[in-house]
């Protein structure tokens, strides 16, 4: 069950990242067209999206299962991107926020602008976390069991080596304590 939920979240992580990026790009394009500003000025808004995407790709390429299958990280990513999408949709469609209705701009830039700083903090935070988790090896979660399994393989016929296995088990138990 946990694995199934994790697969769903890790899949939606990529989908929501693309949707969040697309809808933010739409709002920024609209704003910059209105202000006659050069789109290259908005690079600081989109930079964390690119960095995060690159880190996601790196973790796939390096097969870093610790970060790819980390359910807490995946849920947090989905939550951050969902928040981003909801805020953008409200900025476009919520007619009860009068600034948009009165100014007839199509997007409530006032409201969207309030959210941008939070968005940057969250995206850069995710980048840092992804980067840190890349250093953690894949077998970090369950090292003890695997060591014991390795020692058991092919040692059934050698009685003298069984003692070593027991000793190593005891050593590992001590480490846990």
């Amino acid at each position: 069950m946990k694995k199934f939920i994790n697969i769903i979240f890790s899949f939606f992580k990529y989908v929501l990242l693309i949707v969040a990026f697309g809808i933010t790009l739409f709002i920024i394009l609209k704003l910059y067209t209105r202000l006659n500003k050069n789109l290259t000025d908005s690079i600081n808004i989109f930079l964390p999206y690119f960095i995060l995407l690159v880190l996601f790709v790196i973790s796939i390429c390096l097969s870093r299962d610790y970060v790819r299958n980390n359910i807490f990280f995946n849920i947090t990513c989905c939550l951050v991107f969902s928040t981003n999408i909801i805020v953008c949709l409200r900025a476009i469609f919520d007619t009860n926020m009068l600034f948009n209705t009165i100014q007839k701009m199509g997007v409530n830039f006032n409201y969207f602008n309030d959210y941008l700083s939070f968005n940057k903090i969250m995206l850069y935070g995710l980048c840092i976390v992804n980067f840190l988790f890349l250093f953690i090896p894949n077998n970090e979660e369950e090292p003890i069991k695997e060591k014991i399994k390795i020692e058991n393989v092919g040692n059934d016929s050698q009685n003298n080596k069984e003692d070593e296995v027991i000793i190593k088990k005891i050593e590992l138990d001590d480490e846990i304590i």
């Binding site: 009860n96 935070g125 953690i136």
Partner: protein
């Protein structure tokens, strides 16, 4: 040593993830709350009498005061052209009060924040600009031959009230325009201290009442002027 670093990187990663999770969750819930807050409507109870219905009799009274002057039968000592000018100004004011689109919103049983904003716009355009500023406040520039003492009685009252009314609802309008900015208010605050929709609406009603009272006072003064009392 390597294990030590991995352990601390792990802890640091989870701490940052937790913080981001907290911020994202807070923003998500806050957006739902804010969305609910800006869509709050003000529902009038069955015993609530709106300011337009309440003042229908006042408008009739103003009309009676104005219609007591008939230019064809007037035998008084005041300048007839000035009186006709005042009468037509007051007539225009009455028609502003009667025909403004704001009345449709006043008659609604349930008003949202957009209704209140539109109400302020109609009220400021039809009543404040067309009646109070152009007709009533403008009286002082057109009355030329009237006995100055007659107008001096009411002039400070007109000027003072018209000045107040002209900018009376500006801050309410700004406040409504700014409702997309995040703000915190509990249900307790909304009931007891400030509810954007309800309080803005009642503020417009109060301003409307002041405007109609001003026109009524001017019409009473006009009536006395015709009767030769002043």
């Amino acid at each position: 040593m390597k294990k030590f670093f991995i352990e601390y990187i792990n802890i640091l990663g989870y701490v940052i993830t937790g913080l981001i999770f907290g911020i994202a969750f807070f923003l998500l819930l806050f957006n739902f709350y804010h969305s609910k807050e800006v869509s709050t409507t003000f529902t009038k109870g069955d015993d609530y009498v709106d300011v337009y219905t309440k003042n229908i009799s006042t408008i009739e009274q103003i009309k009676n005061n104005i219609n007591s002057f008939n230019a064809n039968n007037y035998r008084g000592r005041k300048d007839q052209l000035d009186l006709v000018s005042i009468k037509s100004r007051l007539d225009m004011c009455v028609s502003s009060f009667e025909s403004t689109k704001a009345n449709d919103i006043f008659k609604k049983k349930e008003v949202g924040v957009l209704d209140v904003y539109n109400l302020i716009s109609y009220y400021q355009s039809d009543i404040i600009n067309d009646c109070i500023t152009l007709q009533i406040y403008g009286l002082s520039n057109y009355i030329s031959n009237l006995n100055s003492n007659s107008f001096e009685l009411i002039k400070p009252f007109i000027e003072n009230n018209a000045t107040i009314l002209s900018s009376d609802l500006d801050y309410v309008k700004r406040n409504l325009q700014n409702n997309s900015s995040y703000s915190f208010s509990s249900d307790y605050d909304k009931i007891n201290i400030f509810n954007l929709t309800r309080d803005s609406y009642t503020r417009v009603e109060s301003s409307y009442q002041n405007s109609i009272n001003l026109v009524l006072e001017v019409s009473k003064w006009f009536n006395k002027l015709i009767g030769g009392e002043i």
